[in-house]
Amino acid sequence: MVQQTLAGSRIRERRVMAGLRQAELARQVGISGSYLNLIEHNRRRIGGKLLNDIAQALNVEPSLLSEGAEAALLSALREAAAETEAVAPELERGDEFAGRFPGWAGLIAEQHKRLRSLEHTAATLTDRLTHDPHLATSVHEMLTMVTAIRSTAGILADTKEIEPEWRNRFHRNLNEDSQRLAEGAEQLVAYLDDAGDASAGMTLPLEEVEAMLAAHKFRFDSLVNATPDELSAFVADQAQLTSDAARDMAMTVVRQLRADARLLSLDMLERQVEGGKVAPAQIASDYGVPLSTVLRRLAAVSDEMLPMPLGLVMCDAAGTLMLRKPVEGFAIPRFSGACPKWPLFQALSRPMQALRQTVTMTGREAKRFDCYAVSEPIGTIQVNVAPLYHSYMLIVPLEESGDAEAAVGSSCRVCPLAHCEGRREPSLLADVG
């Protein structure tokens, strides 16, 4: 029964994959676009001849639309397929595979999950190797010692006639350098042993900051009157932050969110969001605060003040995602680049201009979101120096259905949209249908 209720979502997904407009499919099966829209949003049950007609128009088995496989399992299979290049799974038969062999499909999904976890560990260790200043200094010193020893030993071995005082000096140098090398190696081994024992540190600093922010739901109103020392003590006390890098990054974010709370108190916001209304530009205008402040603040208070939590994402001018407050149905990629069609990135090319766009996230659920974005300069303004910008996007989930004004994805690899000018890399999903 649950699967039957998702038939509309499956129709929508198949239609998008096939590159068919809603109106076109509706015309082919002899119904109105608005009726198909209701079906696709699971607001009308579908069966019999109409289901067969739609299946025929989409060139799929009717049972794939009416029954399908468990959505999460299918989604996991698609992710696994999208991340492999060595083989080409029959994506168009994913539903059939998951339906006929749920155990095997579950095994693939589980192994993919495990693979991701291992990749994450490898990425974390690589990050540590690359950025750990102690490790870098130790390795540099050891290589310097090795170079001196190699060069000196080469001189002693290759120089047939060498004055006694030079020979003695080089012997002494060899002795000194080999001792320093031995000490350096011992210290490095001890350091790595200690590091190996630490279960903490297996996350990247940004992830630790995100975990801390999530734990506080992006709310730091209690710190509005905190002194700098109290603020430092608060950050130092956060269990999620295990490295100085993470604490430094967290301090920057907490300071900003605290400044937001000072500009827009809970009382001020409560009046503005009465009845679940979300009007960022109006709030910015009423209180004379930057729009980015309003976007961050609304995301922070939404969990408690609004009927549904709002999402937030921030990037720098290079498009690197630096802050994220996830919201259900709007997939934010962790490691790969995000969809360039997000208003977040469009705002970068129109600094200081407020953007609003309704988007539909591609995929089975096809959820709609009202997105507000703005790009604002950071740092102090200097003469003849181009400012740097940070871009923010507030993500407001929409309940009501509607046709897709703008279809956006998460990242190219898992996006089924065909004929997308913003595509950076091929999607296996795009070949389906």
Binding site: H140, V146, A148, R150, G154, F170, E176
Partner: protein, 122 residues
């Protein structure tokens, strides 16, 4: 031979070893061990070649090299860069800064000698 080489490196035993092998090969070797005033030392002595370490106290070898390349007198001066980092990005940084050659530690004496001879003959 008899040409001048300036070795800018902060590890005394590496300086001693390089000085020895170059002197034995007929080069006149001067040394310097910090980055602060390295550019001034190069400009004052105008050697035929500079062997330049990347990690120096006071200023990095990359910064020193960029300054040398921005001056007419030292724009074309052969510079052999030494670094303990051998990653592609380090090589690219050295090339961008204007290095004539890039050598990763640990290197052999023969490699250093060959590079110096080639760069000065060059």
């Amino acid at each position: 031979m008899g040409k001048n080489v300036l070795v800018i490196e902060d590890e005394p035993n590496i300086i001693e070893a390089i000085s020895f092998i170059l002197s034995r090969d007929g080069w006149s070797v001067a040394t310097h061990s910090n980055g602060h005033d390295a550019v001034g030392v190069v400009q004052a002595s105008m050697p035929d070649l500079v062997i330049l370490d990347v990690m120096l106290p006071g200023k990095t070898g990359y910064d020193i090299l960029r300054e040398l390349r921005s001056e007419d007198a030292t724009q074309g001066l052969p510079v052999l860069m030494l670094t303990a980092k051998g990653q592609v990005k380090d090589r690219e940084m050295a090339e961008r800064a204007g290095a004539s050659r890039f050598m990763t530690k640990p290197f052999s004496n023969a490699e250093v000698l060959d590079a110096v001879r080639e760069l000065v003959a060059g």
